[in-house]
Symmetry: C2
Subunit: 648 residues, 2 copies
Amino acid sequence: MSDNNTRAPDSHETPSRRRFLNTAAAASLAGVGLAACQDQKPAAATAAAPAAGSAPAAASAGHAGANVHLKPGELDTYYGLWSGGHTGDLRVLGLPSGREITRIPCFVPDALIGWGITNESKAVMGTKPDGSLRYTVGDTHHTHASYKDGDYDGRYAWVNDKINSRIARIRLDYFVCDKITELPNVQGFHGIFPDKRDPVDEKINYTTRVFCGGEFHIPLSGKAADLTKPETYRALFTCVDAESMEVRWQVLIDGNCDLVATSYDGKLAACNQYNTENGAVFADMMSAERDACIFFNVARIEAAVKAGKFKTIGDSKVPVVDGTKEANKDPKTALTAYVSVPKNPHGVNASPDGKYFICAGKLSPTATVIELAKVLDWFDGKLPELDKAIVAEVEIGLGPLHTAFDGRGNAYTTLFLDSQLVKWNVDAAIKFHAGDKNAKYVVDRLDLHFQPGHVNASQSETVKADGKWLAVGCKFSKDRFLPVGPLHPENEQLVDISGEKMVHVADHPVRGEPHDFIIFKRDLLRPKQVYDINDFPNAVKDPKEAGVTRNGKKVLVKLTSQAPTFSLSEIKVKKGDEVTIVWTNLDKIEDLTHGLAIPKYNINFITNPQETKSVTFVADKVGVFWFYCTHFCHALHLEMRSRLIVEP
Amino acid sequence: MSDNNTRAPDSHETPSRRRFLNTAAAASLAGVGLAACQDQKPAAATAAAPAAGSAPAAASAGHAGANVHLKPGELDTYYGLWSGGHTGDLRVLGLPSGREITRIPCFVPDALIGWGITNESKAVMGTKPDGSLRYTVGDTHHTHASYKDGDYDGRYAWVNDKINSRIARIRLDYFVCDKITELPNVQGFHGIFPDKRDPVDEKINYTTRVFCGGEFHIPLSGKAADLTKPETYRALFTCVDAESMEVRWQVLIDGNCDLVATSYDGKLAACNQYNTENGAVFADMMSAERDACIFFNVARIEAAVKAGKFKTIGDSKVPVVDGTKEANKDPKTALTAYVSVPKNPHGVNASPDGKYFICAGKLSPTATVIELAKVLDWFDGKLPELDKAIVAEVEIGLGPLHTAFDGRGNAYTTLFLDSQLVKWNVDAAIKFHAGDKNAKYVVDRLDLHFQPGHVNASQSETVKADGKWLAVGCKFSKDRFLPVGPLHPENEQLVDISGEKMVHVADHPVRGEPHDFIIFKRDLLRPKQVYDINDFPNAVKDPKEAGVTRNGKKVLVKLTSQAPTFSLSEIKVKKGDEVTIVWTNLDKIEDLTHGLAIPKYNINFITNPQETKSVTFVADKVGVFWFYCTHFCHALHLEMRSRLIVEP
């Protein structure tokens, strides 16, 4: 039943495996231009053959398999923050166990938290004039956390919503989403990355900006005639302020943005571009043999904004600077630099030594290594030809998508079409590219199950990359789990990368579709387990304050709870009243959360110890409605219920 | 950090542990009437001391711990169906790994599936006259599956929504919810159980009814004056037809319903009752020293309905028979029988040998064993005193809530206050109750973490109970997982019950609050992995059928998909059009699901291979909206996007 994960490197050419994959996602590739890549493969495999002595990988019961399974009560050693995909939340995992510990709702309502139900959460999510939620769907892709001195500082995480071009911020002390910003002028906001320090002010050694890549190009002129003229469509790159969450500036570019990376010195941000053609139909998006990785000179862009060298678009007041090729021909004043990379690349990742950005080829079997010092040289007028910043472009396998790092000079790139993870040495790749054909840059290969997308390793995107655990998000799970009907889970696979050989240690089914994630040491966070009641201006601090007061048709209900009772045994209102319930959970004990549901009124939410929340609704149905605790709190939890009496 | 799970039986009296628990959910119990129970404990512990020779439990690395951790690619051997709690879905787990494989949305919208977004799902969920969803919150508690010959037959599962008194049915071939019924005349619908065969027709050896317990009593007269007269409030027991999902009949009762059990011969259903007092405030619900387990004589109730001996309530046309004590004094004609059980019981469970229903004491440290043959004797006039059907009422520990079985004569009851699982022998308990004070009915005790509620074991609620794995839903997790802020996950603990001693083998954090679940052998299900295109009357079977047709302001878009393209590269409509997109995913390969999101239009849903779904919306925003695939399908997934052009 299980696939053989002890297969030797490069044994992926086994006909049966290739045939299996060809019936899956690789199907029909020949018809859309990938046949050429497949034809190149044998040569690539030869060039990238691993060094002699690479024995078959150890069995999964090997040295690392022993500690992936925690004993009951044993704590994980790493946090994982996983983007929630369609559920629009941020998932928090413990690693190496792979257990999902909580989900933090952001873009999509959540009927446990009451996210999208309470007044406080509706204010964060955004509402229409009638008070209903503006959006109830999401498509989160990428999550990253705030930095200080090149490592995570435990303040914030951010996650994007591709459908409606929103960015959410999560406070990592209480694990709650506290701000959501909708980006103007863009569609298909995809990649996201915080900066790591300020490009100018050395004292600012922490994150103050978050960069956002706009993937779809759209008409921006406001002219009806342009709706059907794709040649007028444009995409933008956006900078959001990490504290205020307001949009600082945008950059008009040629082509589109996909993923985002930032440099450790704060000077550069970059996006890979898969549609430099500005194509509006499928074939046009793939017509160019090379696309690009666009670099943004952050300091220069902000100087231009400061100098008033910007426009605005439509109703938006956000400054938009011109980052097109035409306007940035002179390196010494350029805001942007377009480094060419092969056909429709995907993923751009910063190596933990701070030296390189690596683009994965997607439709090319290559990885492209770009040296940041040389990009800065170009901006300084010291590198005549920008593409000389490319220090390696080596073949690694079919369908490269994303890259992680171990802090020991190795990169780990997912190969979507080969269903493999390839471990390759960056320095060796650079030597090979420079002409040393004896440089064996491919160190190891591991079969995955199946069609891997994002990959990340413990601390990989920090200066503290520690090369212990690596996780891969596989897009197809096929027969890896018990069948559950037509919709299969994704398969997140955990790999031990502490040794020379990679060891696949566990499979975890996950609900579609997490895309990206980060993994970091548990001591980087110091979460708070109980709220401070004084953080809530509307807190009802004493059960004696509980009661019902009326102002015309507006009724204010102040309510408290202490297990196993609410402070009011009944609330009496009249039909048509606008009722606001402000509820403080006075229990102080960690984990003693209560819920409050009102039958037929579509209200359900929880309140944690010492927390205050509120809901507002119109009492439009006559009757007795038992509002009850929905979060098991006490032996007498079922008896924790009171009556909302709505009189005619 | 981890709690010691090798503690000897009955060592829960350790002062430090007791003190710890007392700071949690047990706090304030003394103030609400539980001090008495705690005082009784030492005596109970003595009476229930385990047999000599019960050595300390094996360490968690013992004989069973070895196979709880599957190798990558290895399949689980059991399915688990878990109620989804507040998320209003049904969760599907694999056991013994404890991995969540999928979630089936029922009562609450789901932004992955597009549940609550597609026309088909809105029809199942129910809408208001304006087309918006009637409810978006849920509180599922109990899930059970259809039976044949006393074992699961793999046709259906059902799950309840307590908030809005709804019951959902899940098809276990495609793992989808296909029907939701809102029960009339009840509030706080809590317990649920299918029957196991027909009480009269021997040929019907499978489930045809589902029984539903109404927990909250409410005014049913329709008189405004009764709103504030709790003495007029009443609760009902409800029978739903398993095939049509229509409500067959209801029974007016004294007191309330909590959990539900059904007999293997189809003749009896029962509910435990914690509020026989019909109390409307906290203290009144606990005033009686004994409450009840109410039995329903299914054949007699249906005969009464057939004979027209019923009333209806308000607008509802559902026949309501009279199950009150006053109307059912004569055993030979009685529809109901109220067996007394100690104070505020929780949980009623049927033993797999078909002989007994067991009620857990909650506020009494006891389990009550009721012999079904004796209850039937009472209905036949052969047992003068109904409470003589109680064949055991034994002390097992503090806060008993639910009971599972191993098929070898042992029961496993959760002790909420003691944070323990107690294994006890039913026959020995009956002997002890009959006067044999040497009968040692407590076999073993296991500390849990913390405050356990529901418990179930593999095949426990079938005639095939196999006594291998047991899972417990612990309401508090405290420090068992990495901290994630004030809201803690629940802790589902897995226990190996194959030996004499129970062995705790794993902890799993879960999102609140699953309540109940069932566990059964994987070969009982035969799920289908790809839809039959002919099951969808509106299927677009050929890309050539794709196109846009207009009828006044109504626009019909027929769309197909084959990775990596939609069959239309653009859809052009006018502002104000009512647009319906009917989309068939023509890909036939297992696991090749696509998604469709429309930015700013709040639309996102997936379509599985050979499935057809539709959405309807008003094109109220002018612009170009790239509708794109949100479910990674192919190397060119990002390029799978087309334009919805809305012209002024």
